[in-house]
């Protein structure tokens, strides 16, 4: 049996983590190719529902990353995001959605190496946890109907 390759979706902010991931590339640092990056204007713009949509579409893990506190391009987007994450994470945990599969992080535009490290450790962690089917299973019935 071939080894399980996790699908990871990364929601990142345009100004820090996206630029940081760019730096990872230009610095020729290699990292796991399982991570699909989705760029947002700001972490404050990442709607909590999008994380659930990713799980419904079959993501095994999620990375949410943006500017360090006090570094936000829009001054306070990441502070608002942090409160929202604390709230959302506690709600997901209460509902039994596996929060070990969501990695929140701060990666600045200068931290290309940190991005590679975050991506690699997340992929490794998810590989150990195995495929995430609990939430995707919930969405299966609707997808079948849509195809008919």
């Amino acid at each position: 049996m071939s080894e399980f390759e996790p699908k990871i979706v990364a929601f990142v902010c345009n100004w820090c983590t996206y630029a940081g991931a760019d730096l990872t590339g230009t610095s020729r640092i290699k990292y796991a190719q399982n991570v699909k990056i989705i760029r947002f204007p700001c972490t404050g713009r990442i709607d909590f529902m999008l994380l659930l949509k990713a799980f419904a579409e079959g993501a095994d893990g999620i990375i949410v990353s943006g500017c360090h506190p006090n570094d936000c391009h829009y001054t306070s987007g990441n502070f608002h995001a942090r409160r929202r994450w604390i709230t959302f994470r506690s709600l997901l945990d209460f509902l039994g959605i596996d929060v070990r599969r969501i990695q929140f992080s701060w990666v600045s535009a200068a931290e290309g190496a940190k991005w590679a490290e975050i991506a690699n450790t997340t992929v490794n962690n998810i590989r150990e946890l195995g495929p995430y089917t609990d939430y995707a299973k919930v969405a299966v019935h609707l997808k079948k109907e849509a195809k008919v």
Partner: protein, 266 residues
């Protein structure tokens, strides 16, 4: 009780208000919301421990606003909702007369919204012991079992939105669930949409919910959806301090503290 009827009648008599929103007896002698427009009609007003509907839900409804300036019978949960509505600029001073009822059943008069706020500072939101126990029990389940527990509870939901209709703070004229380009939450009576609807509802009420349990009492299936709100209230007060409706401070989730603490962001 007589005090309440007398006060309501005198307000209508003096034309200080045009309608009194209160509790009366409906079919099968069960309490329901009534809208009294004549002094004589105030005789129908009742108040006892069966009056659990949150009347504040009517304050933002266009149909009710058309009736004129209201006076509202307001036990603790209604008072909390009113303060939250004021904090969200849905009500302004002079919009209504509040006929407060304290936990002992005595009539309260308030000179301003500020006065309600300071009254509430002595009556904080406290989550009952039985709910704390239930929340603890759910939190102690292994993650898969916890998910299965909620799946079983939420599966029968057919999204009648009674929880939304009963909630004084769900006053948006266009809700996310009606957003269908793209279809943000599947509306079919199906588990995915059910889960997402309840996650969305809990999140949109996070930091605002005043723990009145109207959503739970309105649910035709008796799904304990208020547990989601209660668990959030508990966690938010641990993370961000004193929880409760406040006029003088910004909403919990629309503000932040640069020193907010968490343990999961790398």
């Amino acid at each position: 009780m007589n005090e309440l009827i007398k006060k309501a009648a005198s307000l209508l008599e003096a034309n200080e208000v045009q309608v009194v929103i209160g509790y009366g007896l409906g079919s099968a002698k069960r309490p329901q919301a009534i809208f009294v427009t004549t002094p004589a009609g105030c005789e129908q007003l009742i108040f006892d421990n069966r009056c659990i509907q949150n009347l504040a839900v009517y304050l933002t409804k266009q149909e009710i606003r058309k009736l004129g300036k209201p006076a509202i019978v307001a036990p603790l949960p209604v008072l909390r909702s009113i303060v939250q509505l004021v904090a969200e600029q849905q009500l302004t001073e002079g919009d209504l007369v509040v006929l407060g009822i304290d936990p002992d059943g005595k009539l309260l008069e308030f000179s301003s919204f500020k006065a309600i706020e300071s009254f509430l500072s002595d009556h904080k939101i406290v989550i009952e012991e039985k709910y704390l126990k239930k929340i603890e029990e759910i939190k102690n389940m292994p993650v898969g079992e916890r998910f299965a527990y909620w799946v079983e509870l939420l599966e029968p939901c057919f999204k009648c939105y009674a929880c939304r209709a009963a909630c004084p703070l769900c006053y948006c004229t266009r809700c996310t669930i009606e957003n269908n380009q793209p279809q943000w939450i599947p509306v079919a009576s199906h588990l995915q949409g059910n889960l997402e609807w309840h996650v969305m509802r809990a999140m949109h009420l996070a930091g605002r919910c005043t723990d009145c349990e109207a959503c739970y009492h309105a649910c035709p299936l008796g799904i304990p959806i208020h547990l989601l709100n209660k668990s959030l209230i508990q966690d938010l007060s641990e993370s961000f301090g004193d929880y409760g409706p406040k006029i003088s401070e910004p909403n919990m989730l629309s503000s932040f503290d640069p020193d907010d603490k968490e343990s999961f962001i790398r």
